[in-house]
Symmetry: D3
Subunit: 187 residues, 6 copies
């Protein structure tokens, strides 16, 4: 599994959530998690979460830490388990980094009542994909929100945070594949 | 999905990790998570984790809070994702209940250097199964360990803790199944 | 699993056979079977059954009782088994309601030589889908056909018939999921 | 897919419901449905349906028409769909042969309140398997039952009935596999 | 499984690698391998192999023996195993026909340093698909290449070669399905 | 994926074809191919190929080069594709090493009429497994056979041959997994 932090500003507009985005753009081939920083502006027409479309809730944030994961398998339920585990990993990392307490509710992270994250998981024709974005600042976010900076994480720590999360997710996915290979069946 | 706390002492000896244990013994039919309290004594011949067998590490604890989950599907990797998420849920519940900080490392929970839990996931001929046990006391545990009581959880809270964890796991599994049903595919 | 009869006239033109149609339009989330009444006009460009396209047989009926089922899984063979069972359920209900004898041949229902139904099953990017339509009248149907009314079912029974079929299909799908959870494996 | 009626009396005692029974005993290799006639005596220790074990309901019939189907796939839910469709086929054939009306309730067939059939579906290590048995006579059956002979089917028609049902089931399974190969996907 | 050699010149431009191409155009329904002869001109916009797109390597050949295989299942890894086996079969047939020695490297065939073939495998919404093309002449091929004729295979043998390869592939796929049905499981 | 040649004589008696054999005995965890040298004596009771059991053909060879592959997935058809590709790889390696011509027929290798190999693929409760054995000498083999030594391969080359085949198989399996991750879907 491949992990990368991209050191350039990329606006997440939903088009990054398409199959082989990491391979097309960077040549990274295989299951991957890629992180980068940039604004988040997803129009209703690009939105994948039809619940948000139904509620007419476009996704917007001035500055986010993004994660795009791609796994070359077609089981959406398993992908959502992967997504929830990624959120649990992010929670642990931020709690430890900022010495605060967050709440995970499904695929959302909250600090008190304030939303820190957006996330979605879906299928492409050849793979399954996850997007997770963490507000860096809550400025202009259209819901009650909080950003990493407001939680006490310095701007210049953000890239490292992205790398660290990618690294832990990759390690856990590998570890889970390996854990299949040490148990006998039961009756 | 079915959830139950069994209000009687049951010794976990590994035979509970077999297909349809909840149905055979209690008539509970379907995907389930069941919790109970009791000692843990698994002989090498009953052990499912062959890594522990290779290391000659039998599992022993005087008093544990046990969870047995069964899902009627045959994808072991997905089951291990379920297991990791269950551990993440348990971590959140105990941290909030005892106002402490735990560390999750794969399917293990630690308080500092001390091990709080054991866990394994495997396949039966018709289902996949998870066992997780939390020490209630570390007394006589053959490794550096900690128990719920030593973390400040009262003996009489243990049953409620078991019920609450079953309830959160069940809710999350349901929520994940539902989350499959709101996204369009991407390119 | 969700079941609904929609109390408005909807023309089935093939666009209803697309992923999350029930969720996009009505907010019903999850595996579902939805029934409604309306004309059926599917142009060749919208047709999913390429056998009909090859034979240049557009589908047309003045008034039909429609069923749209969606299951969030990607096994087309299993979906066709579901479809055949739905047809078998419809056969039983109509035979009992009208006290007549129908013939099921694959996914088609006949009264003597006259065709009562059309049906197709296919995959979407995130789910599998079934459409089944029962002629209410055979008027203007371009093949030898029969309608529910001509079989003795009153116009004002049609909605109830739709509801009843949705209910039996939902019950059987649930019952089948449960039946997985009571058998031990064999050698 | 292979279909055979075995022209000898075989007592169904549950051991026939094991993988490759048709291949081991008759050399028939591949997905198959095999029919034969004989008593039915399944001890509790051999029973696969743990619901019956829980209810302490051994299965017994003096003379039955049996069907054993084996499909080399490991999806139990799909197998139960196959089983239900087999029961629907049997219902149609008997209704047409005896000019009567039966009731299918899940995997059971009834004539009024009287039970005509037993059936179970499960997994083996390499395949999925179905057993269905139809009472030829209700004599000594430990529940309110009816037999084919009492429905007006002559003793000497039973073998032909078995062959005909095998043939229709085989044809439908083949037809379903083929129906996967004529539809385009939808959005 | 269906096999056909089409006795007309067809230019392979990538549009043949789409679901149900054999059914739409020829009415052949089911898993299939179809062979024909014609030029190969695939523009970058039609290319499926994004590695070639990244390298800006369009595929071109004046005259090729083509194979299009379609299997109605959605496991891309299994399809690539099928593809590799098809290449191994082609290697054996050409080696025996021309009494030469080829090298298989993944999905490519070489005669010394010269490339004989192109091949790709991918998913459609309802099936998996393979294209393999063998140069008949290396004239104008944009890489170091060799053609069947240059290997000593006569022009008028090419159609027979295509038929023979289709036949061996079909036989091996059938044989593999059957080989599933003769083994007991192990511990 | 793990590859190893074991430098000790092991008699293959069928018990090596069981889940996690490489992990239990050598601690090698994960998908693997392991090679070793030793006699082959499989009693009918240990045989997995019921076709051989039906023919009463026990497997015997004085000295063989063995391969045991294990893949932690439960798709037997895919495993047989893997097996066939392994045989194709072995064919290429031996042809190139000994400068001879072999014939692959399914999972068998022949030199003229003489059989060089035995092979079987099956499922365990948690994985799929392949055994392939190549005669080193044909002495005492109960069918018309040939051994590697008689094909001109020196005794002291055998270990290297085993290593080389393991290495090529591992590389191809990895390459196939990677090839999934470079193609866009088609219509």
């Amino acid at each position: 599994m491949i992990e990368h932090f991209i050191n350039e500003t990329i606006t997440y507009d939903g088009t990054q959530l398409s199959s082989l985005w990491a391979f097309r753009n960077f040549g990274w081939q295989g299951d991957s998690i890629v992180s980068f920083r940039g604004p988040c502006r997803v129009n209703l027409t690009e939105m994948v979460d039809l619940e948000d479309v139904r509620k007419d809730s476009p996704i917007y944030s001035t500055d986010m830490l993004h994660f795009i994961a791609e796994h070359f398998e077609l089981d959406l339920e398993k992908t959502i388990f992967r997504q929830r585990l990624l959120i649990a990993i992010i929670k642990d990392v931020i709690e430890n980094t900022a010495d605060i307490k967050l709440l995970r509710s499904g695929d959302d992270l909250y600090y008190g009542e304030k939303k820190l994250s957006v996330s979605i998981a879906t299928l492409s024709p050849v793979s399954s994909m996850i997007h997770t974005g963490l507000n860096i600042t809550s400025k202009d976010v259209p819901v009650a929100a909080v950003g990493l900076v407001e939680l006490g994480i310095a701007e210049n720590q953000v890239a490292h945070l992205g790398e660290h999360i990618c690294s832990l997710y990759t390690r856990e996915c590998r570890d889970i594949r390996l854990a299949r290979c040490k148990v006998r069946g039961v009756k």
